[in-house]
């Protein structure tokens, strides 16, 4: 297909959209769907018909609008209204008032910091296009980046562009994308693979899921560009089996892309061929680790293996393999379209561009945000996030899931990038951000994460298998008020051993939640051990009456 042809499809869709005075977009991403946004959509369609506004209004589904706390969300393009908490019974009023004043009681101001402070790159199309219609994506310059790469750029030039953009892997490690791509490009092999890691296992993180549900084509396009750059002809998306909606949308998107020849043989009439298959994960956190993920695609137990050799040289079935995370691939086509310099102009010295975060926990505006690197935590929590629920006192923000740490109030003015988060003992991780208030006990939080690591440890190496279980036992003792200072010292020592001797990232980082809470909230540990008290009142400590002798 020529660019003129697919531009025509895009324009036709755009024209159709514009032929209606009012486009009502109903958010159909998982959070809103679970609040019955599908029913709202049906009711709106019914009302448009009943009130005879069929030529005037069009109701369509759209991707994530971000503010999941106030779902189900709908937007109306003309008067730029955003409604939240819409119920099916609100539909008549919304349709009736469409040409008049917006319905005040449902309206959410769009100039609030939550929307105004964001910079959208990876989430560019989320909430603006219908994820189930390829024409919508084409109308937003979709697949143009791929076409330009294939027709005007050499693979080397694409890689150079990624190097220049400064993009780093968004899965957690932060490995430079350009470097990884050039390693796979240079690796010798008659067959190469591209894998998109969509096995988002961090509890409290839902960025990848929302991106796949809201804009699946941008991920497919990113993968295809990556495949062209490294010389791969086959790709896999390894996606969590627990995300049925994302799987369904991605499947549909792959089929549409194949039909329009953006995937398959001789893409857009060029010699480049590439196809994508979906592989379902089956609920193992360790499969987010690249070598474990490869083992899982090969149909085996998802256990990691020592590196090197890295998958870039020896990956899937022994072939050179490029593995990147969903968000990384979502960033590729905006970089190609807008230029590496533009991307590099956002962010900090060593962390370029934007990052998507999933805000959750005790915060008013839970949802999905995309902010430039270098923003402070205070801005994220108190401006974009709208502060703590119920006016409670902020205690800590947890980043990076079970591999990350808890950051206390004194570091709230710290800039968010890979290096500074590592400095305070946490990691960027995939982007989950859980805010905790004064009612959370940090010992309990550390115990929760250790319980997670203990049960998710694959059991291959002893430090992780045994170490996490022992650390959990010690934390359990502390939270029950049965521990001594010796136990605390032992816990710290164990953290050091597990961190330095485990085989893969899961074990190496499993001590982070414990170490960071001991570092910043030592007094809480001491209160549990010495005073047999839980300051937040979460841990159940049995108080035994001291025997009178």
């Amino acid at each position: 297909m020529t660019p003129e042809e697919f531009k025509k499809i895009g324009e036709a869709h755009q024209k159709k959209r514009e032929s209606f005075n009012y486009n009502i977009n109903v958010c159909t991403a998982a959070a809103c769907v679970s609040l019955q946004s599908e029913k709202v959509k049906e009711e709106l369609i019914k009302q448009v018909k009943e009130q005879n506004k069929k030529d005037d209004c069009r109701v369509s589904g759209t991707g994530c609008l971000g503010l999941c706390a106030s779902g189900p969300l709908i937007t109306i393009n003309k008067n730029k209204a955003l409604y939240g908490g819409v119920k099916p019974e609100d539909a008549p009023e919304i349709v009736k008032n469409i040409a008049k004043k917006p319905v005040k009681r449902l309206q959410i101001p769009t100039d609030m910091p939550f929307f105004a402070r964001q910079t959208k790159m990876a989430l560019e199309h989320c909430g603006k296009t219908d994820p189930e219609v390829i024409g919508d994506y084409l109308a937003k310059e979709g697949y143009e980046a791929l076409y330009n790469c294939l027709t005007t750029m050499e693979p080397n030039e694409v890689i150079d562009m990624m190097v220049k953009s400064g993009l780093r892997g968004r899965g957690g490690g932060g490995y430079p994308v350009g470097l990884k791509w050039s390693t796979v490009h240079k690796a010798v092999g008659f067959k190469k693979f591209v894998i998109c890691n969509a096995d988002e296992g961090d509890p409290g993180a839902f960025m990848d899921r929302s991106m796949l549900e809201s804009d699946p084509h941008s991920i497919i396009e990113g993968m295809a560009i990556g495949a062209y750059a490294v010389g791969a002809s086959h790709g896999y998306v390894y996606i969590r089996g627990e995300y049925p909606l994302a799987i369904k949308r991605l499947r549909a998107a792959i089929r549409q892309a194949e039909r329009q020849n953006f995937l398959g043989k001789n893409i857009c009439g060029t010699p480049f061929s590439f196809d994508v298959e979906i592989r379902l994960g089956a609920g193992a956190f360790v499969c987010g680790e690249e070598t474990a993920l490869i083992a899982s695609i090969e149909g085996k137990r998802g256990t990691p293996r020592p590196r090197p050799p890295y998958p870039a040289q020896f990956g899937l079935w022994g072939h050179p393999t490029l593995i990147n995370n969903v968000e990384t691939f979502a960033n590729i086509s905006p970089i190609v379209r807008k230029g590496a310099d533009y991307y590099a102009s956002i962010g900090t010295e060593r962390s370029k561009g934007t990052k998507v975060f999933a805000l959750a926990g005790s915060i008013n505006n839970t949802g999905l945000i995309e902010v430039p690197m270098g923003i402070t935590l205070r801005e994220i929590v108190f401006e974009i996030g709208g502060g703590i629920v119920g006016g409670k006192k902020f205690k800590a923000v947890q980043t990076g899931g079970p591999s990350g740490g808890c950051i206390p109030e004194e570091y709230l003015d710290m800039k968010v990038d890979y290096e500074s988060l590592a400095q305070v003992g946490s990691i960027m991780g995939s982007g989950g951000m859980i805010v905790m208030d004064e009612t959370s006990c940090m010992v309990d939080v550390a115990k929760y994460f250790m319980d997670f690591c203990r049960s998710e440890s694959c059991g291959k190496c002893a430090p992780c298998r045994v170490g996490t279980a022992q650390m959990y036992n010690l934390l359990n003792l502390i939270s029950q008020g049965k521990a001594t200072m010796h136990d605390l010292a032992l816990l710290e020592e164990l953290c050091d051993v597990v961190r330095n001797t485990s085989l893969c990232g899961l074990g190496q980082t499993s001590a982070n939640p414990v170490l960071s809470t001991i570092r910043f909230f030592r007094d809480e540990y001491l209160a549990h051990i010495n005073d047999k008290k839980c300051p937040a009142g979460v841990c159940a400590i049995e108080h035994k009456e001291e025997a009178v002798l």
Partner: protein, 162 residues
């Protein structure tokens, strides 16, 4: 393998998946997904069948089936309640909900009630952190639940069809 099973429509789905991958051993996880989707759980008979067809030892299949949380070797009850135990849900009160369920229905994580009416499961994170604490009751997500709401909704769910 008996005749009744080979004529089973569900078995055809399993065959189709294996055929799609040319009966290669790396089709194992995809095949187990299909078996679980069709039969509700991984039963011994099907595991033996898959083992033979893919030429993967039964011990290895057992290893894979027990490694991944998504697979279950036990049949599920008529209704399922899945409680999310992700971080956001946890700090908003999952332990209290778990104990309320145990108290009222006598089931713990991974159990099915004796009358086979309710299976209780926990999930690592269902990704609906904005609705924490969240639950999935027979496939429908219930958000911002409290122990009282959970007990009431599960009660109605399992008694509705009697």
């Amino acid at each position: 393998m008996n005749d009744a099973a080979s004529k089973d429509k569900r078995r055809k789905l399993v065959d189709a998946t294996m055929r799609r991958f040319g009966h290669s051993s790396y089709a194992l996880i995809e095949t187990l997904h299909t078996v679980q989707e069709a039969y509700g759980y991984l039963d011994d008979e099907n595991l033996e069948y898959v083992s033979e067809a893919l030429r993967v030892p039964l011990s290895k299949i057992y290893g894979v089936a027990t490694f991944y949380h998504f697979f279950t070797l036990k049949p599920q009850g008529e209704h399922t309640a899945v409680l999310c135990t992700g971080t956001a849900c946890y700090i908003k009160g999952v332990p209290a909900i778990l104990s309320a369920i145990k108290e009222n229905f006598g089931v713990e994580d991974g159990d099915t009630t004796e009358d086979n009416r309710l299976s209780m499961l926990t999930a690592r994170c269902i990704g609906s952190c904005g609705l924490a604490p969240a639950m999935v009751l027979d496939g429908e997500i219930a958000g911002q639940v409290t122990p009282e709401i959970v007990v009431d909704r599960i009660g109605r769910m399992i008694h509705n069809d009697t």
